[in-house]
Symmetry: C2
């Protein structure tokens, strides 16, 4: 039995250890020219080098006067004076004068000035030091410099600023890794986690030194760690933190310093390491991308904050969870979400929880925690969703849940210039229908074939009998048999088939076709192995795992596979009738009906667009 993560501790305790061990830590300070100081953190208070204004100046375009000489002047009883001087805004007010008359209140004649408004002493004069006095403090230390403050600092004679600096070294390890730009061979993967870590740290204001990939050889890892610790205040080692046969990270940290924590009760990211070498923190990142992201967000971000760097505050919304989630007691589980507002309420749709599914984090706009004390969260629970995008952007999210088709992604692209952000979730046609019934999505794309040959409406009449609905035809879509070298539906029982999940329209279509032909499901090899998207079916066919599967033309075409049309189905976007009042849904409808969308569908192939944009209403 190989060792597992011994001494698993809670996230709270791990963060306590970080504070205890590194709470007094400081980065470096560097002098930067003023022009590069925006967003940086002052390392010391900044004082004015000179007063502004340095001398009395005019606050207006006008004439500098002795105020006493303007006494009583008015529109109806102007006063003419001879001793005055023309000044523009910012000009010196000569010491013999004590006020400025605005240009619109003066008639300038030959050697005389007719003043139509009296001024009081020092009126329209900016006195010396009005803005700031020499030696006054402009900014305290540990202040994040805002862009407009550069102007003030420059005006007060400051030319450079001493700011906090923090350098993190990042070492990618793993013999299976290939650098970006290389197509990974079988069993290889692109080294992408440290690119993510580098960008994450840079966004917090940290300088990053990223090592080349180090293979799983202890001596090479040792050498990289030695250099990384010498050159940086924080060291991050990517992967090798688990307990596999080639996971050396923890033992090398222990050789050279100490392992403070190995294993934290969080999911994903259990095998994280917190260590220390030469007094500096060393973090071992797990290899799974979403686990690495979790450590960046939950552990490395608070670590950076200990060095005085401000970290962004996550905005939170209370949202209704759409799906029941199970989780382990003793583990804080982080679940990525797509949240959106439906009417006045926020809805949270969980993304796939596989730690290897990086697209979950691309699709997600929020994250929730199932605390260690709970076994999960129930559909309908109110959860705290921490936003991963600005709140305004989350408010614009349109949740489209149901059957997947690549044209929905293209539709999402088409409505982006209007500020609409489509969040598709792939749960199959029937899943979409049930989500729509619960009011937990804005619209559901579906292609449900009823025994009478009618699409969608029979199902909607049955499941949402009293609801005013609108069905918008996205396209009439060809479904066909996808195979490597051409296969006919008649040969189905002689091949291995890649099936779709229960509740998907394509599965229903297969069942319909099998019944028509009197074929038993049990006679179809692979009937029970479920794939959740058209592309997954096509990929299974291309890889040889299956001989054929049913799917749309675009999936076959994308992977260079053969496509034999079997049926044409009505792929419709279904929403409640009042949803059309929402300008975002109206924009989506406009996009579906646009010439550009028909062109895109025709370019993709496998769609008939005669019905595209056509609308049906229920009941």
């Amino acid at each position: 039995m190989v060792k597992r993560y011994l001494d698993l501790i809670s996230l709270e305790r791990a963060l306590g250890i970080l504070r205890e061990e590194f709470g007094g830590a400081t980065g470096r300070t560097v002098q930067v020219p003023l022009g590069e100081a925006a967003g940086r953190i002052t390392a010391a208070p900044i004082f004015a080098r000179f007063s502004v204004p340095a001398i009395h100046i005019s606050a207006m375009d006008g004439i500098a006067v002795r105020s006493a000489e303007t006494k009583g002047a008015s529109e109806t009883r102007p006063v003419t004076i001879t001793d005055a001087v023309r000044v523009n805004t910012g000009n010196i007010v000569p010491s013999e004068y004590d006020a400025v008359v605005m240009i619109e209140d003066v008639w300038i004649g030959e050697g005389s000035y007719t003043v139509r408004k009296a001024v009081t002493p020092w009126q329209h004069v900016r006195p010396v030091g009005e803005d700031i006095g020499e030696s006054e403090m402009i900014l305290p230390s540990l202040h994040q410099i805002r862009p407009h403050e550069l102007g003030a600092l420059a005006a007060y004679g400051v030319t450079g600023v001493e700011v906090l600096a923090l350098s993190a070294g990042i070492i990618p390890t793993g013999s299976e890794l290939v650098p970006i730009g290389t197509r990974p061979g079988p069993g290889q993967a692109v080294e992408s986690n440290t690119l993510m870590a580098a960008a994450h740290l840079r966004a917090l204001g940290v300088d990053v030194r990223r090592n080349a990939i180090v293979p799983d050889e202890p001596d090479l890892i040792r050498a990289a760690i030695e250099e990384g610790i010498r050159e940086n205040e924080i060291l991050i080692i990517s992967a090798g933190s688990s307990a596999g046969t080639r996971d050396y990270t923890a033992s090398i940290i222990a050789e050279r310093g100490e392992v403070l924590v190995h294993g934290v009760g969080i999911k994903p990211a259990k095998p994280v390491i917190i260590g220390r070498i030469d007094g500096k923190p060393v973090i071992g990142l797990p290899g799974y991308p979403l686990a690495a992201l979790t450590v960046l967000r939950e552990i490395i971000t608070p670590l950076v904050a200990l060095y005085g760097f401000p970290v962004p505050e996550a905005q939170t919304v209370e949202a209704t969870l759409t799906t029941t989630l199970h989780s382990d007691i003793g583990t804080d589980e982080f679940v990525l979400l797509s949240v959106g507002r439906i009417g006045e309420d926020w809805v949270a749709v969980p993304q796939s929880r596989g730690a290897g599914v990086q697209m979950s984090a691309v699709r997600a706009n929020a994250v929730m925690t199932i605390p260690a004390s709970r076994e999960g969260a129930e559909a309908g629970d109110t959860v705290q969703a921490r936003l991963m995008v600005p709140r305004r952007q989350a408010r614009e999210a349109v949740l489209i849940t149901g059957s997947h088709d690549p044209c929905i992604d293209r539709l999402a692209d088409l409505v982006r210039p209007g500020g609409v952000e489509i969040h598709p979730t792939h749960v199959g046609s029937m899943g979409g229908l049930l989500t729509l019934k619960k009011g937990q999505c804005h619209a559901a794309p579906m292609h449900l074939l009823a025994p009478d040959g009618e699409y969608n409406t029979p199902f909607l009449r049955k499941y949402l009998p009293d609801t005013d609905l609108v069905l918008v035809c996205v396209a009439e879509r060809e479904q066909g048999l996808i195979s490597r070298e051409g296969a006919s539906f008649d040969d189905l029982t002689t091949m291995t088939y890649a099936n779709r999940q229960k509740g998907s329209g394509t599965r229903l279509l297969l069942d319909h076709l099998l019944q028509e032909r009197g074929i038993q499901p049990a006679a179809v090899r692979g009937y029970d192995r479920e794939f959740t998207t058209h592309l997954a079916v096509a990929l299974a066919v291309r890889s040889g795992e299956a001989d054929c599967g049913m799917g749309v033309y675009s999936a076959a075409q994308a992977l260079g596979l053969h496509f034999a049309p079997v049926a044409t189905e009505r792929y419709e976007l279904v929403m409640r009738a009042d949803a059309l009042d929402d300008p975002r849904m109206a924009a989506i409808l406009d996009a579906i009906r646009s010439e550009r969308f028909s062109e895109i569908l025709e370019g993709m192939g496998g769609y008939r667009t005669a019905e595209t944009g056509g609308m049906r209403v229920l009941p």
Copy 2:
């Protein structure tokens, strides 16, 4: 009569014109390497170059098996198999196997594997394309790339991204300007507005080309505009937008293109210009720093958004205004604020409204609008404060309102590492007392001398008779006569005096001393000219405007002036007793009592620290 801004239009109309004229405008697109793509905006959808995983791989450390052979295996009835292979997470699952048993559920023997848990087909296997399929859309266009998405893009074979780019040229004009690093002579100023504009635009993601300073010579301005329009999509001309004798900006834009707007009903920033040359927007920034900042925030930021760049969303809080503000009908006036939370309520303290007082924007953490339809806002009104800092930071603001002393700035610096952000507002001792009475500051520093020689308590007993108060001595502070070459209080009536404003402790002290000596205020030349800070008094003395004035030692010392002690006063920070429950106030109290603070006071000079940190309570 010179021309004024003709055709003054509303801000709303000006923004409408921007949308109408430049709504279809596009910047450029550029290809950036993936490592530099975080924060950039996609110019086109991005598709996966290959599937991930490319082949079935193990999701766990364990052994790859034929699932059927593990049937029935359990802890109590393990099953021994011989055909299996050891796999680590991420390793290929060879095609003869269809599942992985986790390493903790296996005993590995010599040529045999004892399995203690049955697995179902494809369990612990990550199927080909589980994360993404080749050709699937990863991101739509006009998406701001988040740091973690770089990891996904790299993993899916993307090495570079086509992103939006927008270039703004900025031309500083003005013969009175000197570059940063030069001490301005009389009537000169450091060219600081374009530094601010550059940082503001860069923070929005815009590339900036900043011209050298162009003097007020039409031919030179013409040449700079010509080059700026050629090289950029947006051109900003700083200053010269007003109607002074040397304001050429509008006429040169009109020569070469057209002036769409000259003058918008906003304050500060009325003389803004919106023009167009060769189809590109040209904005004329007013010269006053806060006016320029207003145009950057209210006009240039929305202009940049038209090009597809996301602009930060201002968070808003509802706050109680502490001071009545008057404004002009027909003008949207923007007032900078210090906001903070007192108990459960937000309070908004207006900053100085002079367009030349750049420190207002340094001190402010929010801004409010007095709409054109209103003549002002009343103290006690609920106003919408748009935050200029993250909400969390604004929540930490401690409003300290009253008498100003430079040691309060140093105290502010001292508490920064604990996350406490002091916002001092200088309204004099009596102003502070009244603000405290209204519950609109956290604490008020004061030094109010009563006729009986007692400091502060007689005033507090009178104005806040039934309130539990705590008075913390910041220091015993020397007040003295500040002069250029040494002056005695006995010679007061032979000199010009720089007085402080009514309600300030120093004014009260002067009045007390005059009365003691039987001198009439009218006998003091300059008694009616008011300065609002110690440093302003010292600056007036140094400039020769006054011969002497009363102030603290640090002000005299900072400007190299003579200081003749006149009195020692108790400078106390007064707060409600329950304020000490607030950890921020407790941190400020700790800082006042720290050795470091006494060292700072002694270093500054003019303070006695024996009483520093001493606490009195009322009633």
